[in-house]
């Protein structure tokens, strides 16, 4: 009997695929956002609202992760934006290899932004890097104040947390300040955007931030190399 020392990262294979995806995105000059949330937080509604505000200015593509149905992809396609559906079946998250396979069928040529809607799940997607530039989490006020403490990893890794359904705050039994405090304890450096997809309140602030992050990305050498290409 003998012991072989390894100290190997268990998700190394996913990391390798994620690096390939990132290189592929860079080669096409595409800025990529991974949207995550619990089921029912309003992720698809956020995407619809966001797309409507930026589609005149940017060439967009959307990849939809879903367990079974194409309902969400249909909603996005109805906005006149190319949408590709990854049906994960029993798998509760997107991984980098699924995205890579999708890219074979989904041309990135000419796109500025790729929006990826992950499977609705608070745990699993947090562990799988897809090669994205930004991680955005949608957290609705009606989910209660304890979510960041119960599912800290996803919050901790989010560049932005969209606090959706603020129009329902009077019925949610929590204050906006309490929700924001719990998010910031777990993820002190994240950006919080309270908003409502129903009333439209707050959407513009989030979209302005997204545009700003995209503009910063365009200043980087990697993005400029793609532009020359």
């Amino acid at each position: 009997m003998h012991q072989v020392m390894l100290e190997t990262n268990i998700l190394e294979q996913n990391e390798t695929f994620a690096e390939h995806n990132q290189a592929h995105f860079r080669a096409h000059g595409v800025f990529v956002i991974n949207f995550m949330s619990a089921p029912g937080a309003g992720k698809t509604s956020v995407l619809e609202q966001t797309i409507q505000l930026i589609k005149a200015e940017f060439k967009l593509g959307v990849i939809e992760g879903d367990l079974m149905t194409t309902l969400d992809a249909d909603r996005i396609a109805a906005l006149g934006v190319p949408a590709y559906q990854i049906t994960t079946g029993t798998v509760c998250h997107l991984d980098a290899q699924m995205v890579q396979r999708a890219l074979h069928n989904f041309p990135l040529d000419g796109l500025d932004l790729l929006l990826i809607e992950n499977v609705g799940n608070m745990v699993c997607p947090a562990e799988f890097n897809l090669g994205e530039d930004l991680r955005v989490m949608v957290y609705s006020t009606v989910e209660g104040a304890e979510k960041p403490k119960k599912y800290p990893l996803m919050f901790h890794q989010a560049d932005a947390v969209l606090l959706n359904k603020i129009d329902l705050l009077p019925y949610a039994g929590v204050s906006l300040a309490e929700l924001e405090r719990n998010v910031l304890e777990v993820s002190p450096e994240t950006n919080i955007f309270p908003l409502s997809c129903r009333t439209g309140e707050g959407i513009e602030a989030w979209v302005d931030w997204l545009k700003q992050r995209n503009a910063e990305f365009r200043q980087t050498p990697a993005a400029n190399a793609a532009a020359v290409h």
């Binding site: 009997m1 003998h2 012991q3 072989v4 020392m5 390894l6 100290e7 190997t8 990262n9 268990i10 998700l11 190394e12 294979q13 996913n14 798998v91 509760c92 998250h93 991984d95 745990v123 699993c124 947090a126 562990e127 799988f128 960041p148 403490k149 599912y151 800290p152 990893l153 996803m154 901790h156 910031l184 304890e185 777990v186 993820s187 002190p188 450096e189």
Partner: protein, 113 residues
């Protein structure tokens, strides 16, 4: 349940190592698993028992060392603390804590016959 994907990663690493060593049967796989990962220990063990069947790891035991979450505040001179309730703000000065440990997810070693 993404633990199945994680177990597949573990088995891939261990079986590859066994094959590099003349397809030696695997006796034990030792993991280092940080507390601050989205992994449920019971689900991991359940998937491991199911997925190891018919592989070089069929007889293998899974040993998991849990690594506690620890952080430090640079502002307070790197005083170490265990963040309570995943609060990553320094209890003394409010600065953002740096995570020192608790994010590990590694196969540390495998034991082969």
């Amino acid at each position: 349940m993404h633990e199945a994907a994680i177990v597949q990663g573990i088995l891939d690493i261990a079986i590859r190592t066994a094959q590099q060593n003349g397809a030696a049967p695997i006796r034990c796989i030792k993991l280092r698993l940080g507390e601050f990962r989205g992994v449920v220990r019971e689900a991991l063990e359940f998937c491991f028992e199911a997925m190891k069947r018919g592989t070089l790891a069929e007889q293998a035991a899974l040993e998991v060392e849990t690594i506690k979450l620890r952080a430090a505040c640079a502002n307070c001179g790197e005083i170490e603390c265990a963040p309570r309730d995943y609060n990553f703000l320094c209890p003394h000065c409010g600065e953002v804590l740096n995570i020192l440990a608790g994010r590990e997810m590694q196969v540390e070693y495998v034991e082969l016959d």
